[in-house]
């Protein structure tokens, strides 16, 4: 019983961490028409960079996130006009063309990581990573708590930004009715670029979060991607709070599954759930 409750608690924390990894993809899919299969690969790259900063300079991953997220935001600004804008504009199915583009990017990143850091798995060990923290009577891992807080702050921050700032409203306007947005003077093109850059910036936060929880190798992005896709598809592309709720659910399933079932079953549940949902509700998830 005690173990069950603890795994429930860590499932919820895991969900928060995954929400951080998923929310940027939700934004890109729902508001910039980019089906970004490289989202978690970008996050994983940041995970490796944080690992590098930690092992060589002793920089705490929480600090590293503060450096990497703005850097990735800038990278997003650079990637949009060069690779993504031509892939989205004037294309019959932007979702398909961006998914092929980003599959290519993910493969490039995976193998570049493997080249630089070898295929061996890495673990980010900070002073708090294995420290047991007692929260409301549950004992959970320190790094899990940190990753969960990062993810939760990210999601709530984005929610606030999209609904309480003028730029956020403009972003939603472009997503809901691009022509209407242009007619009130919103430069839809710039807004898409901003959304994409935000999405890539948040990939850093989510990726470092997951890298703090799991041991990771160059191919880890793949399982992360499927999990994050499941979360986005269930939560609804572009729905920020929907992503959070769906991530909590998926976190619970993974947390419980991890505690109760052998590894093969976990993959089966993940693949099976994603397959079922895509088959049952393929449309209407995307505008």
């Amino acid at each position: 019983m005690g173990m069950l409750v603890t795994s429930l608690a860590s499932g919820l924390l895991l969900g928060c961490a995954y929400a951080g990894a998923a929310v940027g993809l939700s934004l890109a899919m729902g508001m910039a028409r980019v089906f970004n299969l490289a989202h978690t690969a970008l996050g994983l790259t940041c995970g490796y960079l944080a690992y590098f900063l930690l092992t060589t300079a002793g920089i705490d991953p929480m600090v590293a996130v503060g450096l990497l997220a703005p850097l990735m935001f800038l990278a997003g600004l650079a990637l949009w006009p060069t690779l993504f804008r031509p892939t989205v504009r004037g294309v019959a199915d932007p979702a398909l063309s961006t998914s092929i583009l980003t599959l290519g990017l993910a493969i490039v990143l995976e193998n570049a990581l493997s080249k630089v850091w070898t295929p061996n798995p890495r673990i980010m060990s900070t002073p708090y990573s294995n420290q047991a923290i007692t929260l409301f009577g549950f004992t959970v891992q320190g790094s899990l708590v940190v990753a969960a807080v990062l993810g939760l702050l990210l999601v709530l921050g984005l929610h606030w930004f999209l609904n309480r700032t003028f730029i956020g409203l403009a972003i939603q306007a472009v997503a809901q009715e691009p022509d209407g947005a242009r007619l009130v003077g919103i430069r839809a093109e710039l807004v898409s670029m901003l959304v994409f850059a935000l999405s890539v910036g948040t990939a850093a936060i989510g990726g470092v979060g997951l890298a703090m929880i799991y041991s990771f190798g160059p191919a880890s992005y793949f399982d992360w991607l499927l999990t994050v896709l499941l979360i986005v598809v269930v939560g609804g592309a572009g729905a920020i709070l929907g992503t959070l709720i769906s991530a909590l659910g998926v976190g619970l399933v993974l947390g419980l599954g991890g505690a109760l079932l052998p590894q093969a079953w976990n993959s089966l549940i993940l693949f099976g759930l994603l397959l079922t949902i895509l088959l049952l509700r393929p449309y209407g998830l995307f505008k």
């Binding site: 939603q172 306007a173 009715e177 003077g185």
Partner: protein, 235 residues
């Protein structure tokens, strides 16, 4: 104020507007009528920058705006309330109006603009916290006009503001539009299927058929024109 000359617009290989020319003078209320599929919407979209014309010129207040993107044209004060309204359905009425005043020029006066819109359409004030997508058709039309007004237009283009409304509501909307012109000296270019009513209120009108402007004249003369009567007023 607005001068369109020789405008031609294609969808793929097919022209939807062919060498259309029209003029709107400052302070005027101009109507544009014609059967469905004549190319009225296409013409207006090319004027406001949603579509790129293949040939011809659009001059607004002495500035050649041909081929400019919509967002820059809006900045000049040429505001288009499109067919189908194009509201932001999952934002509130208030946020839709605020976004109408998105550009710095309009944002500076957005409080006053909002107040004016609410005076004009008290129903919108009652529903200001509701999502735009949940409004009735008439309310949505009011919101679309309100959003256009919030952008502080000098020329307001309205495409089918009466579409899908009951005749009573349609007339009500047209009366409000007329007041914008007579009380606030707002220049208007309006498309509507309520031909008789529109021609009664407008100063001048153009008739469009299969992509071309086929007739024009003071609205009171057009309404008396037997040809126009036969096609549109055959009621």
């Amino acid at each position: 104020m607005l001068e369109v000359s020789g405008l031609t617009v294609y969808y793929g290989p097919l022209p939807a507007v062919r060498e259309a020319s029209l003029k709107v003078a400052a302070g005027q209320f101009v109507g544009l009528i014609g059967p469905n599929g004549a190319g009225k919407t296409t013409l207006l979209k090319a004027v406001s920058g949603l579509l790129r014309p293949a040939a011809g010129r659009v001059v607004f207040d002495g500035t050649d705006i041909t081929g400019w993107p919509a967002e820059r044209i809006c900045e000049l004060g040429l505001v288009h309330v499109p067919e189908g309204r194009k509201l932001f359905p999952r934002l509130t009425v208030l946020d839709n109006l605020r976004l109408g005043a998105y550009l710095p020029r309009a944002r500076a006066e957005s409080d006053r603009a909002l107040k004016e819109v609410f005076d004009l359409f008290p129903r919108l004030y009652e529903r200001r916290r509701q999502l735009a997508g949940t409004l009735s058709g008439g309310e949505q039309q009011m919101l679309a006009i309100g959003r256009g007004l919030a952008a502080r237009p000098r020329l307001l283009i309205l495409d089918e503001p009466t579409l899908g409304l009951s005749p009573r509501l349609a007339h009500e909307i047209l009366e409000v539009i007329k007041r914008l012109n007579s009380e606030r000296r707002l220049t208007l270019l309006v498309v509507s299927q309520e031909v008789v009513h529109l021609l009664k209120l407008a100063d001048y009108a153009f008739v469009m058929e299969t992509g071309r402007i086929t007739a024009e004249g003071p609205a009171s003369e057009l309404i008396a024109d037997p040809k126009v009567r036969k096609v549109y007023v055959g009621l």
